[in-house]
Amino acid sequence: MIRGVIVMNDQGKPRLIKFYEFQPVEKQQELVRSIYRILCCRAENVSNFVKVDSLFGPDVRLVYKTFATLYFVFVFDSCENELAVLDLMQVFVETLDKCFSNVCELDIVFNFNKVHTILDEIILGGQVLETSSSEVVKAVDEISRFSIFLSPSLDRGIVCVRFYWSCSLNLCRLERSGNSIWQGR
């Protein structure tokens, strides 16, 4: 099964942490830090797989991939196929891209609850639930629409109607323009 999904930036700051077996907060932080330590010293052009049995127990591996400034990390055991998980990650990122149209780190920071929603449609309880990106987008859109329908007066931000960033928010060393995940590939 999949043990956890972590998204963090290249400074090691967590952007999304989801463990499918409960981990106390301190443990989560420690794991994220250890994973970051492993990842940041890996060279380019090496494999995307790392054995992390020292952190998670025997036969647990992780697959990581960098998209622009973000590390996407999936931790899983021997029941999954490394290469397939790498593609599952791709499905996740493609879905994010569809939902946020041209996703970037800030999207994930500000809307991590929505990212959770998307992830929940793909992986449930550590098992791969859905692998078709379009199906996931459909489900997430449904949820968004329904939420609006139920509460028109509430926060509109959850809808996919997006207001483009007008003032430059100069943080996380990320410019909105021209630094989308897809150009980083």
């Binding site: 090496v46 494999s47 599952l88 500000f110 991590f112 639930l129 692998t131 926060d155 959850i158 943080l171």
Partner: protein, 944 residues
């Protein structure tokens, strides 16, 4: 409102994230977060906060917790929010509780009710949200509360709900298999769901169920094969295509299930050959996901009942993986290789260069995977190279976890396959030196035992040689700083036992070294104790030999210091040492006999020799003995007593265990009062009927090796017997298919030139750096080492006979892989097959007779072994039945063919040469496998 920016959050939240993003240090960040926590604390409890604001606060709380701060004060608000009617708020609430709470949290009980209600909701999105929470929050006790609703939802009209209900049930199964055992038919039914998503989800629980018990699901095999076929034929909706592959994730899941069902089941395996073959053919190996499927197919093939065609396809796929530039594919290739070698050990040899490249790759992941492969393919012929490599790598890494693993693997391999005791000791020294604190202490005991026992009783000189070399190497090593404690213990013990045994080193030199060790590790009491014991042994040997003991000043000061040690154990030992110094030679010869560690000491556990005495006492009216177990309430006292007694049996403090008329003091001390846990091993000193005060011998006996329960993997039976027979035991599994070799090895060979033959030809055929090639040969070929020593002139000489032998052999054994690829396990005849190069001149000729020859001329990995295997095995059978005859026939034939092509001058001894080459080669291999005292040169380099 949240529309100020583009991210749908309030200004406040944006500012928070912005300030955290800009903070320069961890403390600054912490300050910001703590301020935020204070704000949230007040806002969340404020009854006037509007609901949509609450939602944002909760999200901010999640954010705070993600950064590692305690947000437990807000958990209850998350729980409250799950009660909300509004879907958005409800979802946020559920999200928060699934992230905040663990399934045994107290607050869960407040949510179960809400979940129950939501599972019945008309709005399927509410149901989905509840199911998400169910997957995370329901524990064993609360399963029954929601189970009926979840089962009902399996029939929900929305596929999204059905899918999640299946997953929830799967989760229940993982939590507590019993709770859903009656629902297994539902899983089977859901496999036929008309939504592919639901079907795909059902594969997850089924896969786990099958893993637990494959037999019960064999009937589903046909369905799985059918589904896989339909998926592969693109019958699923287009939306499941991914990079032009039809539903690849479902395919992979199905292949995993087929693997489980087909393992060890021939009939089941046969049913899936076709579909797996189809999929392998269809796979698009240019995409990632195509390769993922291909890899899964290889895994499947390697666990099914072997099918030559599929294995061939798998081997092809592996070679594609290994040749690819992508490290991911190389990694998978190595992994697949390690799976496939279980079925077909030859396959690794085709890829030896690729494997070596991976071994030297800077990518750590790949390297480790390759070490795993090597670990799996270790045998006695290549253990030295592999373990050397492992140790080298072990020294280079800092990760203790992996270091421990690789160290224990080194030990395991060395124990299992050690070609000689000498090598074993050298290897262990290296492992100890670099990872001594990480390996099991048993390993140290094993090592000491090996040094003590040596090769066996019948070969005294070899034993003392072994010991001297051990002593020498330890004297060299022990000066190094930061040696691990376990290793120092071994060193001290060996120096104590054998330091002065060969007379090369004087007692004062050794004792000086020992006191250095004790001084340098003044905080380690165990090492100090070992050092004191070693001193004691050396002094007593000196006294026993009638020499005058000259105690060095540093030793004296060490002794003085330890007499006042805080450790009673150390103190005790030092007092014993002092007592021993005052004894005379005769007495010490009794209690400290030289080199008696291996003496078996028989201990009469039942103390039957006392029977008469007891009988006598009872007759005189003494109380009979009540076994300890029958005495209530006394156990703690007796425990205490025995410990105490162990320390100081000469002192006045003595607790009588039971009312026994006082037996003679020696008996009391040595057997009845001191429970020796492993009596069968108690070393040299422990002779019950001795007149020496028990205090002086207690220490040594305690220090001795405790070999009980230690596995005797590398023990004597394997290596101490004379060479030919040893080889049979050492390589039984190899020999089983190659009985031929035995007969060959019995005949003596004299000509060392032929050895060079295969080595030489190897050189010609692969154009790669010699070191790599050598490594490859030693890893995969098995022989290398002794061959490598051959001088180049002999190689040159031997080239001719090999050439002459070529035509005939080629005709007969066209299928042979080139020699360096050969496994040790193959019948020995193969080893004489000449390499590619000599073939060249005759290629035309061969093509006429045998079209396939070109395959073997192709180079390293080109041979298509699996196809030819049958031919080959026939051949070896043939050889076996006719004993060596075919070989000689062969050589005659060879002579004939050779005449036509080669110069006659070389002809005269060609026939015998081939035969000899055979014999020699097998002999050489055996030497590599089982060197013994017979061939001391072999390990000269190790001894330095």
């Amino acid at each position: 409102m949240g529309s100020q920016g583009g991210f749908g959050q309030s200004k406040e939240f944006q500012d928070l994230i912005k300030s955290i993003g800009e903070s320069r240090s961890k403390t600054e960040e912490d300050r910001i977060v703590l301020r935020e926590i204070e704000t949230l604390k007040t806002r969340l409890v404020d009854p006037n906060t509007p609901k949509y604001k609450l939602k944002e606060y909760l999200i901010r709380l999640l954010y705070v917790e993600m950064l590692g701060h305690d947000a437990s004060f807000g958990y209850i608000h998350a729980v409250k929010m799950t009660h909300d009617e509004n879907l958005l708020l409800k979802r946020t609430g559920y999200l928060a509780v699934t992230l905040f709470l663990n399934e045994d949290h107290d607050l869960i009980i407040l949510i179960v009710n809400t979940i129950q209600k939501d599972l019945k909701s008309d709005n399927y999105l509410v149901v989905c949200a509840a199911l998400n929470a169910v997957c995370r929050l329901i524990n064993e006790e609360t399963i029954p509360a929601v189970l009926p609703q979840v089962v009902e939802l399996l029939g929900h009209q929305k596929e999204a709900v059905r899918k999640k209900a299946v997953m929830a049930l799967h989760r229940f199964y993982l939590r507590s298999p019993v709770s859903v055992s009656h629902l297994i038919p539902n899983f089977r039914k859901k496999l036929c769901d008309n939504d592919p998503g639901v079907m795909g989800a059902t594969l997850c629980p089924l896969s786990d169920l099958i893993k637990a018990d494959a037999e019960n699901y064999k009937d589903l095999l046909v369905s799985f094969v059918n589904i896989l076929k339909q998926v592969a034929e693109r019958r699923l909706p287009k939306s499941y295509d991914y990079h032009q592959m039809p539903a690849p994730f479902i395919q992979i899941k199905l292949l995993k299930i087929l693997t489980l069902l087909g393992t060890g089941d021939r009939k089941a395996s046969e049913q899936m050959y076709t579909i797996i073959g189809d999929i392998m053919r269809k796979c698009d190996s240019t995409t990632n996901i195509g390769n993922a499927i291909l890899y899964e197919c290889i895994c499947c093939v390697s666990s099914l009942h072997p099918n030559p065609k599929l294995l061939e396809a798998a081997a092809d796929a592996i070679s594609k993986f290994l040749k690819n530039d992508s490290h991911n594919l190389k990694y998978l290739g190595i992994d697949a290789l390690s799976r496939l070698i279980k079925i077909n050990p030859e396959i690794a040899e085709q890829h030896q260069l690729a494997v070596i490249d991976c071994l030297e790759d800077p990518d750590d992941t790949l390297k480790r995977k390759t070490f795993e492969l090597l670990y799996k393919m270790t045998k006695s012929s290549n253990v030295e190279v592999i373990v050397d490599r492992m140790i080298e790598y072990m020294m280079s890494i800092t990760d203790t976890h992996y270091k421990t693993e690789i160290a224990s693997r080194c030990v395991e391999l060395a124990e299992q396959f050690a070609p000689s005791n000498q090598w074993f000791i050298q290897t262990m020294n290296k492992v100890f030196e670099h990872a001594g604190d990480l390996v099991n202490i048993k390993v140290a005991h094993n090592l000491m035992r090996l040094i003590a026992e040596g090769f066996g009783e019948d070969d005294g000189t070899a034993d003392s040689q072994l010991r001297s070399s051990a002593v020498e190497s330890y004297l060299r090593i022990m000066g190094e700083p930061k040696l691990p404690s376990a290793f120092l213990q071994v060193i001290c013990w060996v120096l104590g036992e054998y330091g002065t045994a060969d007379g090369k080193y004087s007692a004062s030199y050794i004792t000086g070294k020992l006191s250095d060790v004790a001084e340098a590790h003044s905080t380690d009491d165990t090492v100090k104790a070992y050092a004191v014991m070693a001193l004691m042994k050396i002094y007593s040997f000196q006294i026993a030999a009638g020499r005058i003991v000259d105690i060095l000043p540093e030793c004296q000061s060490l002794i003085d210091e330890m007499l006042a040690s805080h450790s009673t154990d150390l103190q005790q030992r030092t007092y014993e040492l002092r007592a021993i110094l005052n004894l005379d030679a005769r007495c010490l010869r009794e209690i400290m006999p030289m080199d008696s560690t291996c003496e078996e000491v028989e201990i009469d556990k039942n103390l039957s020799f006392l029977d008469g005495y007891i009988q006598q006492s009872i007759e005189k009216g003494a109380q009979p003995y009540i076994p300890e177990s029958e005495r209530l309430g006394m156990s703690s006292i007796t425990n205490f007593k025995s410990e105490e007694d162990h320390e100081s049996s000469t002192h006045a403090l003595r607790f009588e265990a039971y009312e026994l008329p006082k037996p003679s003091p020696t008996v009391l001390a040595s057997s009845s009062l001191v429970p020796i846990p492993e009596p069968s091993y108690s070393g040299d000193i422990f002779h019950p009927p001795t007149s020496i005060p028990s205090a002086s011998n207690r220490g040594p006996s305690e220090l001795k090796l405790r070999l009980d329960g230690v596995q005797k993997k590398w023990g004597r039976p394997t290596y101490s017997s004379p060479a030919p027979s040893t080889s049979t035991t050492g390589t039984t599994k190899i020999q089983s298919e190659a009985t031929q070799r035995d007969s060959a090895s019995n005949t003596v060979y004299t000509d060392p030139k032929t050895r060079g033959t295969s080595y030489d030809s190897r050189k010609q055929q692969v154009e790669i750096p010699p070191e790599k090639q050598k490594l490859a040969a030693s890893l995969f070929g098995g022989v290398s080492k002794s061959e490598g020593k051959q001088s180049s002139s002999s190689q040159r000489n031997s080239k001719r006979p090999a050439k002459a032998a070529a035509p005939h052999t080629a005709a007969v054994i066209t299928a042979q892989p080139p020699p360096d690829l050969l496994d040790l396990g193959e019948p020995s005849i193969s080893s004489s097959v000449p390499s590619v190069d000599p073939f060249k001149p005759f290629e035309d000729l061969l093509d006429l007779t045998q079209g396939t020859t070109s395959a073997s001329a192709g180079g390293v990995g080109a041979t298509d072994s699996s196809d030819f295997m049958s031919l080959f095995s026939d051949m070896s059978l043939n050889v076996q039945s006719h004993d060596i005859d075919p070989v000689s026939n062969v050589s005659n034939g060879n002579g004939l063919v050779g005449v036509t092509v080669e110069k006659l001058a070389q002809q005269s001894n060609k026939g015998p040469n081939l035969k000899e080459a055979l014999e020699k080669d097998s002999r050489v291999r055996q030497m590599g496998v089982t060197p013994s005292g017979q061939n001391p040169n072999l390990f000269k380099n190790l001894l330095g």
